[in-house]
Symmetry: C2
Subunit: 299 residues, 2 copies
DNA sequence: ATTAGAAGTTCCATTATTTGGAACTCCATT
DNA sequence: AATGGAGTTCCAAATAATGGAACTTCTAAT
């Protein structure tokens, strides 16, 4: 099907797939989605597993706890089938059945995720640099990785300890309106980038949100040149951030770091200082990544 | 929210199951495991899903990154089968294929877990009381829930900000050597408790670890009477903790809160103060739980 | 109370997926 | 260039999932 090269990892034949992406060096393509506010994977590809996860996603992504019938309305499945799928998910600990007849994502997910987090080699390598960035700026810093049309935050250090620290770990945000998101887009091949730009479900969160592919792509060009990106209250009023992408040539993961702070607290000087700090942090992480993966570890 | 009575959630007929447990009021039984150091679910129950999760668990629980063959040696499956299962897991984003041919748990787990965490109604309800406990003691506090033979920590506030806060969220510890674990055991029916006591894979972490069912059960009796439990450097030298269980009659979840600190810093007076604080916190959480679930919400 | 009808659960012949063995392709070593 | 280890593909046979319909609750309305 495709030409093998190294003892590369599994290559999935994306049979009837819809949106292949990040086809760089034989890496597995993630599934994307239509991304409304709540992104849910559009599975139905991977047989039984995919169907089970579709149900799990519905339960996890819903804003309110769902009952059997609520789920039934969303998944296109006969009652009997859904019932068994839920039973299986519950038995596996992936879904929790509340006493009031609603369903919630289960504890086992947290357990698995804790491992995913602590084992994630990108995060581990990035951590010291990331922390140094926090110390240098004294502000909140984020570390996120690219996943389809969104950023997933894998680490965060708060400036203000009254806010819960882990509140956002694992959370996903759209790429088009976040500093890290735009910085990561700028690292993609232009085609890929443009393709994704078309797919967003743009929501104009604030006055300055880049809410069309054109606006977004124009800015991406600037970011490409500058090496850093800005979030000028594009996602939330009063919040600004400076960010740099990580990955480029060498790495198989595309990621980004950012410094965030309330707009009122930031001067132009601060911004400039952050630009170089953030940029240097990204470069440092890239260097460590390259080392840890060996000089040439992709095809 | 609603006070349905018996529009009870799914009840799983644990067909050929091995270790049913917590059979209290029709709640779904979680699967247990043999619990060495790293607990991994012993699935193989729920058809295809279970098998897929078995592979995922192996990948997640391993201390070192595994290659295809490493996994193959552990799962009792033919190569072709494992290969397809991995493909599916990768395609679903549950497993990440590293460029060097090893596999790691995937990002989608973090995304799901983030939702599981923020939606967890127990944690949400417990939070204010939990936070108050931290403020009253100034020390590290934990919130954990019972899952088979282990505690899963669902919240934590550190006293000492130099340590990473979220580093333990979602992590699991054995019941027999943790304050919360013992407090939770004390809430179970005696039979259930004794049954679990037999199943632990006791490791004598320190001098004071209760490393036999007898020692453990004897202490549980005391805890039952006292209403609070102690960890007297049983898990880690130099670390003590005071804890109280949450759940008892009303609730369907069994959980616990604890205050932890270095032994050298704690006086007997402190311990006494913590005992009542922790006890009161547990009671307050129970009250709020009862309210939110309606007066009598299980069959 | 009684009843209509949601909401949830079970059953089982049909259908679709998964299985497992073996053959095949690479790659790294000797 | 030859061996063996590692990963991949294929397909008939075995197994598990499907989906419709019948059956139980429970809920709200008469």
């Amino acid at each position: 099907m495709v030409l093998h090269k190294a003892s590369q990892p599994l290559k999935v034949a994306s049979d009837s797939a819809e949106t292949p992406q990040s086809s760089r060096h034989g890496q597995i393509a993630l599934k994307s989605s239509d991304n409304p506010n709540l992104v849910s994977y559009k599975s139905a590809g991977t047989g039984t597993l995919g169907k089970a996860l579709e149900v799990l996603d519905i339960i996890a992504m819903s804003a309110v706890p769902l009952r059997f019938t609520d789920i039934l309305k969303v998944v296109d499945q006969p009652r009997g089938t859904l019932h068994r799928q839920l039973s299986n998910l519950i038995e596996e600990g992936l879904v929790l059945a509340n006493p009031d007849g609603t369903y919630d994502p289960g504890l086992r997910l947290m357990k698995l995720a804790a491992k995913a987090w602590s084992k994630n080699s990108f995060r581990t390598i990035a951590e010291p640099h990331f922390r140094k960035l926090h110390e240098a700026t004294g502000e909140t810093v984020h570390l996120g990785v690219l996943n389809g049309l969104e950023v997933i935050y894998v680490d965060k250090i708060e400036s203000n300890q009254t806010v819960r620290m882990h509140s956002q770990l694992g959370n996903a945000s759209p790429l088009y309106c976040t500093g890290i998101g735009k910085a990561m887009l700028a690292l993609l091949e232009r085609d890929d980038c443009a393709e994704r730009a078309e797919k967003f479900n743009y929501v104009k969160h604030t006055e300055t949100t880049l809410h069309t592919p054109q606006l977004l792509l124009a800015e991406i060009e600037q970011i490409r040149a500058a090496g850093v990106s800005h979030d000028r209250e594009e996602h939330e009023v009063g919040i600004r951030c400076v960010s740099a992408g990580i990955g480029g040539e060498a790495s198989s993961t595309i990621a980004g770091v950012s410094v965030t702070a309330p707009a009122y607290r930031i001067t132009e000087d601060t911004i400039l200082k952050w630009e170089s700090l953030v940029f240097e942090t990204a470069r440092a992480i890239e260097r460590d990544m390259a080392v840890s993966m060996g000089p040439r570890s992709q095809q």
